[in-house]
């Protein structure tokens, strides 16, 4: 993995601001689900905050994002307003998708979030289509496509990356490698030594980076974005990271050796990034102010979600086709 210089102070503050919102949101979701205030299947993102925050800090709001069911971090980092996101998680009419998508299917075109899929690997071919549209429009946009290490074992990954490369599509394939596909370690499912190697085999510019290192991740992201905007084509970024709370909430991570989990928690990217800000002479008070602001956003959003109305049952007849279907 390449070592990189420290990113700008302002960039690191931006990444921290996004990542802290994600971390606090994840904690709050787990609390509320645990307390029975929300009845949803939840895929925790704690541990992967910095990967998406650094990636999204390197793109614009009108660039596209395609992500997956473990996507809260990507969606918040891309800028979806917390109130609408929380309301969608709660199935309320005020949610991004009027409560019809739910946590696994968040869409918010205003911030470029075009698809969240619950089918492993499926976003990859769709990201190509967004990239193709940008290439034909010459609008200069890039598409970020997020998925996990597990998705690289499905056919759509190989078909999709190959097509992106032959057409030089402006797509950044961000593999957030947390080493576990559901309950199985990558070494038991993956024939190649790395995901980067798979990207290289398909002809793509491919890099591996410590995704938990904000500066290194940002540098890799920025480079891939510039490469794509210049018309050179896609990049596969293999961002090494870890997830602390299982495949889905309730999963005890029993399949992860204790020592591995302990080491991963020692390498928790959040306190490291916070310390980096302090080292850069950003005051404790300034950091605390960012955290307090995020807490207030989450407090307001979670209340909004709980207090909002459910959609009307008749809503199932709307948006199936472009015209309302008969009852």
């Amino acid at each position: 993995m390449a070592s990189t210089d420290m990113a700008d102070k302002a960039v690191l503050v931006d990444i921290f601001t996004r990542a802290d919102l994600i971390m606090q949101s994840d904690i709050k979701f787990r609390q509320m689900i645990g307390a029975g205030q929300l009845q949803i299947v939840y895929y925790p993102v704690r541990g992967q905050e910095v990967v998406s925050s650094a990636m999204m800090a390197a793109v614009n709001q009108d660039d596209y994002l395609v992500t997956i069911y473990r996507g809260l971090h990507d969606q918040l980092a891309k800028g979806i307003p917390s109130k609408e996101l929380w309301a969608e998680f709660a199935g309320k009419v005020t949610g991004t998708c009027k409560g019809k998508g739910g946590p696994m299917h968040i869409t918010h075109p205003a911030t470029g979030v075009m698809v969240t899929t619950g089918i492993v690997g499926s976003g990859i071919p769709i990201a190509n289509g967004l990239g193709l549209a940008s290439q034909l429009e010459k609008d200069g946009k890039v598409t970020v496509c997020c998925f996990g290490d597990g998705a690289t074992n499905i056919g759509a990954f190989h078909e999709g990356l190959n097509m992106a490369q032959i057409w030089k599509l402006p797509v950044i394939f961000l593999c957030q490698n947390n080493l576990y596909g559901e309950h199985t370690h990558m070494r038991d499912t993956t024939g190649s030594a790395s995901i980067k190697q798979r990207g290289e085999g398909l002809g793509l510019r491919s890099v591996q980076v410590n995704g938990n290192d904000a500066s290194a991740m940002y540098a890799a992201a920025k480079e891939a974005v510039e490469y794509a905007r210049a018309g050179n084509g896609p990049t596969l970024i293999e961002a090494m990271t870890f997830r602390f709370h299982g495949h889905l909430l309730g999963d005890t991570s029993h399949y992860i050796p204790k020592e591995e989990m302990e080491q991963a928690k020692k390498d928790d990217p959040m306190p490291i990034l916070r310390q980096q800000l302090l080292d850069l002479q950003i005051s404790e008070a300034d950091i605390a102010a960012i955290e307090a602001k995020n807490a207030a956003i989450i407090d307001e959003a979670s209340k909004f979600a709980l207090e909002s109305d459910y959609p009307s049952g008749d809503e199932y007849r709307i948006d199936v086709l472009d015209v309302e279907i008969a009852a």
Partner: protein, 333 residues
């Protein structure tokens, strides 16, 4: 203009499809084509349906792809989400099985799951059909699978004029449409459409009026319905034919109106009879017109087996004009 220029000449089904895509691409720069071998360098499609289009509109808009059905449909879905009207060619309908995740989980559902924020105005052209010895993996009729998925429209034309109008309407429709072509039918001729000929989706036609029984079908069933109707007329039986044209959502109003008049019906399709679209259509007729029917609605379809290779078995397996006639006699006693 001379007199001869105004007479519609006969053209092949495949030419009508080519004309529809040509018009759609000329009318709307957002129409793009994706598929295996579809550009002229690769032959303009294995059945030449897209011949000449890459020359006219360029290979940016008419793109030959790798043999990657998931990637083809996925790319079409993604481009459709941001305003393009892609036409993805999945060479043969059996290959749609490889792309079913993109079709069923994404194309069909993204409008709904996004609460209407996005839509997928995508057309998937695909061809199939038995009778030419292509065997079990190149001839299946899978329309019932697709018609069962909320959010998809399913279309099948039976003649060049309808093919032209329906394909143009499919491309311009704001919903994902599966447009099913018939491989042996590509070379069947019929009157050419005029450039402004239109056929709306969701509207059946009545190509033959009659009084004794209604034959309901689409695509490859219609020519056999006509042949059977000619033969039955010799026995004094008057058949009305309803060509659904759009399988899903089907034109229930036209079907029910016809059957209310004839009081008898047979649904005909090439697909395997069991769990086919005929079951749904038949059931809807029974629900609405049970007390008026002279006999239960009949169904004609192919046998419960994969499409066989040997012509001797394929012929026995496949639905036929004889099957239609037999079913009509059975119903009318």
């Amino acid at each position: 203009m001379s007199d001869t220029a105004e007479k519609p000449k006969d053209i092949m089904f495949a030419q009508a499809l080519n004309m529809a895509m040509n018009k759609a691409m000329a009318d709307d720069p957002k129409v793009i084509l994706l598929g295996e071998d579809i550009a002229d360098k690769e032959g303009g499609g294995v059945f030449k349906v897209t011949a000449g289009l890459s020359g006219t509109f360029g290979t940016d808009r008419v793109r030959s792809t790798p043999i990657s059905e998931q990637a083809i449909v996925g790319a079409a879905v993604g481009a459709a989400l941001v305003g393009y009207k892609p036409v993805a060619e999945i060479m043969l309908m059996n290959f749609i099985t490889v792309a079913m995740d993109q079709i069923v989980n994404h194309a069909a559902k993204l409008r709904f799951m996004s609460g209407g924020q996005t839509s997928v105005p995508l057309t998937i052209r695909t061809t199939t059909g038995a009778g030419t010895g292509l065997g079990g993996q190149h001839s299946d009729m899978l329309e019932a699978w697709l018609a069962h998925v909320p959010g998809l429209k399913v279309v099948a034309a039976s003649n060049p004029q309808d093919a032209y109008g329906l394909l143009y309407s499919s491309i311009m429709d704001d919903n994902p449409v599966i447009f099913i072509e018939n491989t042996p039918g590509y070379f069947v001729k019929g009157p050419a459409p005029t450039a402004d000929h239109t056929v709306p989706l969701g509207k059946a036609s009545i190509p033959r009026e009659g009084t004794d029984i209604t034959l309901i079908g689409y695509g490859s069933a219609i020519s056999r319905c006509h042949a059977a109707a000619d033969k039955l007329a010799e026995d004094g039986i008057s058949c009305e034919i309803v060509d659904l044209r759009t399988i899903a959502p089907f034109d229930e109003e036209t079907v029910l109106k016809s059957v209310a008049k004839t009081k008898a019906a047979v649904v005909v399709h090439e697909a395997v009879r069991s769990f086919g679209t005929g079951a749904e259509i038949s059931s809807r007729i029974h629900e609405e017109l049970f007390s008026e029917l002279r006999a239960p609605v009949g169904r004609v379809g192919s046998g419960y087996a994969p499409v066989p290779f040997s012509p001797a078995i394929e012929k026995a397996w496949m639905f036929s004009q004889d099957d239609i006639e037999r079913e009509v006699h059975k119903i009318l006693g």
